[in-house]
């Protein structure tokens, strides 16, 4: 297993090595030591490898990820998994702002809390946050699922399109055009799958969650809604 100590190896060297990996590489598990909050760690990966980061990571960790599995044993800075296409990112600590921003696919699991703008403009990814999320989360979220076991801050789902939000705790306020929606069997099944994929066992019941989504009142311009755009 390749072990890269970022106290002695430059980050760019590491990222270049990861980018050059062929998709059938036998070096499938990497360990990154001493990340020290550096930015863009393991960003832009395309090979189906597992990269474990032993410590806190900085901005854009695992950004644009495709196929790879990232496990961060610490906190992550702004924009973890930004524009992720596929694969999985598992953050053992907290995430800063804009976690999973614009992410198009894959699964982002955050064990702790995620701060403001979690899932902003998400476009198909699944995000599961075991703690709480900050204000303005899922702003203009287009598709995918945001699951929150804790609470949500102000203006949840403002100007949301077709993403689904499931929150177990309280929601401080809903943003423009975001409403609570009925939880039907199909949603319960989908939520159960999401919880399972995030390693959350049956002790957390899907019946504890509420579902939020778009009221679809802002899709087309209407002058009466001018103040809400």
């Amino acid at each position: 297993m390749p072990v890269v100590d970022l106290a002695v190896t430059a980050k760019r060297g590491l990222n270049e090595r990861l980018h050059r990996l062929p998709h059938d590489t036998l070096e499938t598990v990497w360990l990154i030591e001493n990340p020290q909050g550096q930015h863009a760690l393991a960003a832009g990966l395309t090979a189906p490898v597992t990269v474990e980061i032993a410590g806190h990571a900085g901005y854009y960790c695992g950004g644009m990820n495709q196929r790879a599995t990232l496990i961060v044993h610490g906190n992550v800075g702004v924009g973890v998994g930004e524009n992720m296409m596929s694969g999985k990112i598992h953050v053992k600590g907290d995430a800063s702002q804009s976690a999973g921003a614009t992410a198009q696919g894959g699964l982002l699991v955050i064990e702790g809390d995620a701060s403001a703008r979690c899932g902003i403009s998400m476009k198909g990814a699944d995000i599961v946050v075991k703690g709480s999320i900050g204000p303005m989360s899922a702003f203009m979220a287009q598709s995918g699922n945001l699951v929150v076991l804790g609470d949500a801050g102000d203006a949840l789902g403002d100007s949301i399109y077709e993403a689904q939000i499931f929150v177990r705790g309280s929601v401080k306020t809903l943003g423009a055009d975001c409403v609570e929606k009925e939880m039907r069997d199909e949603h319960r099944r989908a939520l159960r799958q999401l919880l399972d994929s995030a390693g959350i066992d049956g002790t957390v019941s899907v019946d504890e969650f509420r579902r939020y989504g778009s009221a679809r009142r802002l899709y087309n311009f209407h002058v009466d809604n001018a103040a809400s755009y």
């Binding site: 600590g93 701060s115 403001a116 204000p135």
Partner: protein
């Protein structure tokens, strides 16, 4: 962009290390602000005496020309005068008359402020920050976007005794606020918006607010983006605007509280691996006081 840092020692044994730790935090934040840097440190004070930090050239002989009882320490382009509290008016008058070229950038029982144009690590080195001791300190690395790269525009700003502020962000109603504060007797040395934020807090503190109350009031009165780190003689506080536009991360242990624009600034702190690392919430005041 700008980077800001702050360190507040809870454990007195950390005080001799404060300058060294703050210098390394500033150095890391060069990436966020390579133009200029500054810091304020709360060092040793003596009852009945105050320190004036002056900035300018030809500093040799200023302290001796002021006469007996005035002690001066020159650090690069700055001079810290230690004077009897009762002598302050005379010293200020003398400086205004004899040395109008010198700028008083800070005054108080314990505060010392240093700022200069250049790479932050170099600025810290020039002033000898690594060898300074203190109970708490704040620092700033500047990437000028709206105004020129000058020492005047560098942080921290001090508009009240033993008070200082560093700011990452920009305020949009600082002109109105400046006029309001000037009418209430707060004076400003620069055109900088961050100095207005400092002046606002000085005004609130003067009117009897606690540091926490002053910062809470600023949420209603300041319009714009900000993350502030603020120091007073015994206090240290952090506040972010209600949408948390600018980054912030904090670490707390039994020994210290630390603030950085990015976690990278904190990695050199002792015991950071076991610190409680968290992101301050928007519109919430975090404050610590020395006993």
């Amino acid at each position: 962009m700008c980077g800001i840092v702050g360190l507040f020692a809870k454990d007195p044994e950390l005080e001799p290390e404060l300058g060294r730790l703050l210098a390394s935090m500033l150095g890391v934040m060069s990436d966020r602000g390579p133009d200029s840097a500054g810091f304020a440190l709360y060092g040793a004070g003596e009852r009945g005496r105050i320190k004036l930090t002056l900035r300018g050239r030809d500093l040799d002989g200023v302290a001796s020309a002021l006469g007996e009882g005035v002690l001066g320490t020159i650090r690069d382009t700055h001079l810290v005068l230690s004077i009897a509290g009762s002598d302050e008016a005379r010293v200020r008058t003398w400086l205004a008359e004899q040395r109008p070229d010198l700028v008083i950038i800070g005054a108080g029982e314990r505060i010392e402020i240093f700022k200069e144009v250049g790479r932050p690590a170099m600025v810290a080195e020039r002033f000898g920050l690594p060898d300074m001791a203190g109970t708490h300190g704040i620092g700033h690395t500047r990437m000028a976007t709206e105004s020129a790269v000058t020492t005047d525009g560098a942080h921290p700003f001090s508009t009240g005794r033993d008070q200082c502020l560093v700011h990452n962000g920009s305020l949009s109603n600082h002109r109105n606020l400046r006029r309001m504060l000037e009418r209430r007797g707060i004076s400003f040395a620069t055109d900088n918006d961050s100095e207005v934020a400092a002046g606002y807090l000085s005004w609130r503190l003067r009117e009897g607010a606690s540091l926490t109350e002053a910062l809470e009031a600023s949420l209603d009165d300041l319009d714009g983006f900000f993350t502030f780190v603020v120091g007073t003689e015994s206090g240290f506080a952090v506040l972010r605007d209600p949408i948390a536009c600018k980054p912030a991360v904090m670490a707390e242990t039994d020994r210290y509280v630390a603030f950085g624009s990015e976690y990278r600034a904190l990695v050199g702190l002792p015991g950071i691996a076991h610190a409680r690392v968290f992101e301050p919430e928007p519109a919430r005041v975090y404050a610590w006081q020395r006993a």
